[in-house]
Symmetry: C2
Subunit: 124 residues, 2 copies
DNA sequence: TCGCATAGGGATAAATTTATCCCATATTGT
DNA sequence: ACAATATGGGATAAATTTATCCCTATGCGA
């Protein structure tokens, strides 16, 4: 990884959580791996908006952070399977909670995000 | 806000959640506001690693996304108080879950993050 | 023999996010 | 007079993250 010019802030727990979960696709990757989509090509199909490259990068980071592990099969064409480590499994309920919140508020969120700069939301 | 060149991905709930929660300090801001630290200067003292500027920017975004509201008192020196909207309150348990996870795994996380590129963690 | 599937990663450009610096307001205390 | 307090935001630089492009490898099927 690149030499970091600005040191990470790792003061409180939330900093640490941020460090392993930030990344445009990481949460989704964990979620899908947990749901049984183990191969890179499957994940790519599940997340078509991400390029192959970024998924690799983020999978590598998740692996380096000990949330997922990688099994390489010595076959051709190549076959790789990711799975959660036992540590990685502990984060799944957290993601579940977040997803549940997002789903329950999907319409509202979509509205707020889309209408920024068009109108101020009523306070409440 | 700046014109965005690459459109946001807002397919699933998690994308939406990401859109309002991403930002280096947003989660902490929500947490502290909920804990009763309402004034910008208080928040700044609570999060000394962030510059005043960024906190303002992120507070503005949280407000635009309808998670917090701002009350300005017409006094000098200026006084401002933020508080959660009722919608903002609904995200607090989610942050709580994340924080709890992070605290429970603090040592492990700290270890993993610090030792990247020094050794590969044992699988498990 | 070409094309496809599968996986991985270097190099570099572009986009986005953060950081830094600076200025403004108006009152109270030194 | 001058510093400090409190809040806010413009302008611009720097850092970081994503996106793009391209190249590698090896069998299988058309």
């Amino acid at each position: 990884m690149r030499e970091r010019k600005i040191p990470l802030n790792l003061n409180c727990g939330l900093d640490l959580a941020g460090e392993v979960l930030y990344g445009k696709w990481k949460i989704r990757l964990l979620w899908f791996i947990n749901a049984g989509h183990k191969r890179p090509s499957e994940l790519q199909r599940k997340i078509p908006d991400a390029s192959r490259r970024v998924l690799n990068v983020q999978l590598n980071e998740l692996e380096a952070h000990g949330l997922i592990k990688k099994k390489i099969f010595a076959v051709v064409p190549p076959k790789v399977e990711y799975s959660l480590t036992s540590f990685g499994e502990t984060i799944i309920p957290v993601i579940g909670t977040l997803g549940k919140w997002a789903d329950e508020n999907e319409n509202r969120l979509r509205d707020l995000i889309q209408n920024i700069n068009i109108k101020q939301p009523e306070e409440n």
